[in-house]
């Protein structure tokens, strides 16, 4: 068998479960970026009372490992409460998939991260965080580490593209060093908003370009 993937991985790759988007999702999270070669976007629909995951869907720009893992963890998470779903690990996914090639584990981790991030976003935006921390510049910068510049493949912190972050009455303003007509300005703006907006005390995110 020349292909390094198990039959299970190939099955999920060829016919992924729960692929697509949810229009009125309660939470969304994106991990990775096309620039990194792997990106997963995860959509959650959660029952407000039971906190059970009523619906879950994913979209993937990624390799077989990424697609198959997203497929199988959405299967697992569906119907579980968000507390139960938090416990889903890449190891469990890896086991159910019959083992992934070692160098592909990071693609699987990315998919699992997107589930955890979506749940966190749900909790943040639905007032479920116990003892929630006030959003600080530090927290914002930390989240921005997941925003990638498609041109260089580096995140915007490493690439030194952020001039400043100002938080004022729930309004987060991110000052970037990018010109507004930069090839990827719109993309980066969108990703920044998606990253910061779910925080419980954030009302609005503004992204400023260096024009």
């Amino acid at each position: 068998m020349p292909i390094p993937y198990s039959n299970k991985v190939i099955d999920h790759f060829l016919k992924p479960h729960n692929s697509g988007s949810i229009k009125d999702a309660d939470a969304v999270a994106t991990e990775g970026s096309p620039a990194c070669g792997d990106m997963v976007k995860l959509y959650l629909k959660v029952d407000k009372k039971t906190k059970k995951i009523d619906d879950i869907k994913f979209e993937s720009y990624g390799c077989a490992s990424n697609i198959a893992t997203a497929s199988i963890i959405t299967d697992i998470a569906k119907g579980k409460t968000i507390e139960e779903a938090k416990k889903v690990t890449w190891k469990a996914a890896d086991e159910l998939l019959g083992g992934l090639p070692p160098v592909k584990i990071h693609c699987a981790v990315l998919a699992v991260d997107s589930l955890h991030a979506a749940i966190e976003n749900y909790e943040q935006s639905h007032g479920l965080v116990k003892n929630p921390k006030t959003t600080t510049k530090e927290i914002v910068l930390s989240r921005l580490k997941h925003v990638i510049n498609p041109l260089t493949g580096f995140n915007v912190i490493k690439a030194d593209l952020i001039n400043d972050v100002v938080i004022n009455n729930g309004i987060v303003t991110v000052y970037t060093k990018l010109a507004g007509d930069h090839q990827f300005a719109a993309n980066i703006k969108e990703e920044i908003i998606e990253r910061i907006e779910p925080l419980w005390d954030v009302k609005k995110v503004e992204v400023k370009f260096d024009d």
């Binding site: 790759f13 096309p34 990194c36 070669g37 792997d38 993937s60 390799c63 697609i67 260089t152």
Partner: protein
């Protein structure tokens, strides 16, 4: 399921004639190519070696003693770079090459760079062409010992203006090496007319066997051997010559037919026409003017989808192609060639290379185009990226 093999830029299927010649040779002529005052079996092998050398030399307008056989294109490129660097040690210490060379040139240049050689990496434009003015300005008449520019690019098929590059190097009296592993013999090459001092050839890229390559070395070129072990190959490459493979190499040159180039070109053109017509948001990588790219090379990026998934889907359909995506490569880095052309990481990750040989056929075009279309559609459906980046 019959495989449709479209990774011919990596390695071609072999000519049956070359296989037969090699098999017979392995069966009967197992001696080592020896000095002429040896035994008959050794002399016969030596004769076969020299006949093969003559074949290669004639094909490129060189003299027999200007051809050094190596274990392949990689060794030939290593010999060209390290061999001239050694010969010029203490005298000249500047090497010029490009950002999109084959790894064997790229890594050799990097190694030299770590050993006191100053390396200039010429930029390429978004079609992969170097800027001749930049080359001209980069040459230091006193310090540059070698300009190494590939004849044609392995990924995006860009065919450099070798004639002009040769003239510029000659005008500065600086050695010019070209890696013509992929272009020869599809694109004919006359070393005298093109002012080439060193040229790399690889048998397995032209319907010949793996394990044989050659470096053309113009007479009187300052160069020192890098593989030690006896006086073989005009004292420029030690070790037992792999004569069975060399004989197969020569046979593949003899069997070369210009008509096959036209065929390959035609197949490539047809596939592109079909893909471009049926799939949206697809971009050609490399020269848009197909007369300036390798006959068999098609490289394009499909917006919003990742290369490894495309390749794996196509592979499930029996179609063998490659991608510049990081997930595909041994280094887990996106293609440096694609990046050097100034494209985004995403464009590299979304790229697919289809490369043809004379063994491909017209009836393979529609299945490949249709499979590609279906795969791209399916992957776009599940992609979180909704618009072209």
């Amino acid at each position: 399921m019959k495989t449709i093999y479209l990774d011919n830029a990596a390695s071609t299927k072999m000519d049956d004639a070359a296989i037969e010649v090699m098999t017979n040779f392995m069966r009967n002529d197992y001696a080592v190519a020896s000095s002429q005052f040896s035994h008959r079996p050794g002399i016969l092998v030596k004769d076969a070696l020299e006949n093969s050398r003559l074949t290669v030399a004639k094909a490129i307008g060189a003299k027999e003693d200007e051809i050094v056989f190596t274990s392949g294109g990689t060794e030939a490129n290593n010999l060209a770079l390290f061999g001239t660097a050694k010969a010029f040690a203490g005298k000249r210490n500047h090497l010029i090459t490009t950002k999109i060379e084959h790894v064997s040139v790229k890594d050799s240049a990097a190694e030299l760079s770590g050993n006191g050689i100053k390396v200039t990496y010429l930029d390429v434009n978004n079609e992969g062409f170097i800027d001749l003015d930049q080359l001209n300005d980069a040459i230091d008449d006193d310090k540059t010992f070698l300009v190494s520019v590939q004849f044609a690019n392995q990924e995006v098929g860009t065919v450099q203006n070798v004639a002009e590059i040769g003239k510029i190097c000659r005008s500065h009296n600086v050695l010019f090496h070209t890696d013509s592993a992929l272009s020869f013999p599809s694109i004919p090459l006359d070393v005298r007319k093109l002012n080439i001092d060193l040229a790399t050839f690889s048998a397995h890229k032209m319907y010949g066997p793996k394990g044989a390559g050659a470096l053309y070395i113009r007479n009187k070129t300052p160069i020192k051997k890098i593989m030690m072990g006896g006086f073989n190959e005009f004292n420029l490459r030690g070790g037992t010559e792999n004569v069975p493979a060399i004989v197969g190499f020569a046979e593949s040159i003899r069997r070369f037919d210009k008509k096959d180039v036209e065929k390959v070109q035609d197949l490539r053109n047809k596939l592109w026409t079909s893909i471009n017509k049926s799939i949206e948001d697809v971009h050609i990588n490399g020269p848009a003017d197909f007369s300036k790219r390798l006959a068999g090379n098609l490289n394009c990026s499909f917006d919003r989808v990742e290369g490894e998934s495309i390749v794996l889907h196509l592979d499930m359909n029996g179609i063998a192609v490659i991608t510049g995506s990081a997930c595909f490569s041994r280094s887990l880095e996106p293609s440096y060639v694609m990046m050097s052309l100034g494209f985004s990481h995403e464009r590299a990750h979304s790229s697919v290379r289809y490369s043809f040989s004379k063994f491909n056929n017209e009836d393979e075009i529609e299945p490949v185009s249709e499979a590609t279309k279906k795969v791209i559609e399916r992957l776009r459906q599940i992609s979180p990226v909704k618009k072209a980046i």
